[in-house]
Symmetry: C2
Subunit: 201 residues, 2 copies
């Protein structure tokens, strides 16, 4: 803005909102104005929720999930099958898989992928913690739910190496055509993988 | 989510973020996770900015703008021409016109448009305050920058009536082809208006 048109508190709010993913400079202004107009219904509760989250959030020492308790809600849920653990790169992946709700298992959040060029080796991820969890003996299957990228696959291979010789089955997500996907728009890699992994109809 | 995967503080944060314009349920989760990961750089400053905005925001008693001071930053800016006032429906319109920065004038925020069916008459808007400001004698031109909708135009006509007989020029925004607009995609109303208001090249 060329001239100041609002007090510093409002300008600051707009600047910070613009850094929230999903909002840009333009929608940050719109969001700020909406928040100000809905002060009691939205602005005050949201600022309280943020303060409370900032005070209470911690990383689960067992699985690497973020939550307000340690161990986290997922780790302390007695209804989950303790024999299966799904390994994900990031908490966002954990949340995405939980929305799918296909497997009633525990999780392990790596915190990223191996990337030697960026200085991310095994010790920067929670790989040692995963090996310890498996060594406890209760886990019978480790599902590698890492991204289908080069980094994800490198990390998956490293994990398989680390877990070899232990009494645990290591599996990975199936490759194939996404549900609702049109073949014409899919890349050759996905199509070859889907053909190779074809199943009886 | 079928099962709880995070503590109530995080769920609450996601629910409230989903009500911010520009964010939906999906991007609210992404935003919440980003905020949690950037706790010190973003979550804490943003919650403080919100608290501060919530405590300090007020409506300018002179022009209806929202700001942290009363009179607002715009009303108390000595560099603005006090002889011109731009009448807008909403604070968002004020901000939009300020970004354009074309006129160094004051503003008057109506707070909506006349809409008898919704119970919004002249007393629900800041029309009386506008007439008082004009009656003070300093304002020489009132620019009606209301939306080009039926409600906006009805309100503009009502305002013109109220200001008739006072020593003030009432003008409105020009109608025409938006800059960058392609004629083929414009509606007939805009095209006729642009033709009628044609100017020498």
């Amino acid at each position: 803005m060329s001239k100041r048109i609002a007090g510093p508190e409002i300008e600051k709010l707009i600047q910070l909102l613009a850094r929230v993913p999903g909002l840009g400079p333009r929608s940050a202004r719109r969001a700020a104005l909406h928040l100000i107009k809905k002060k009691d219904q939205l602005l005050v509760p949201l600022s309280q929720a943020m303060t409370s989250a900032a005070e209470n959030v911690r990383v689960c020492s067992r699985c690497g999930n973020v939550d307000t308790t340690d161990p986290c809600t997922v780790c302390s849920d007695p209804r989950r099958d303790p024999a299966t653990v799904i390994v994900v790169e990031d908490v966002a992946d954990l949340w995405a898989l939980e929305r799918a709700g296909a497997l009633n298992a525990g999780y392990h959040v790596l915190g990223g992928t191996l990337s030697p060029l960026d200085g991310i080796g095994p010790d920067q991820l929670t790989i040692r913690q995963l090996v310890s969890r498996v060594a406890e003996g209760e886990i019978k299957e480790v599902v590698l739910a890492v991204n289908a990228t080069v980094e994800g696959q490198t990390t998956a291979h490293y994990l398989t190496d680390q877990l070899s010789g232990m009494d645990v089955r290591v599996t990975r997500l199936a490759y194939g055509v996404p549900v609702g996907g049109e073949l014409d728009y899919l890349d050759e890699g996905t199509l070859s993988a889907a053909l190779r992994a074809r199943t009886a109809f």
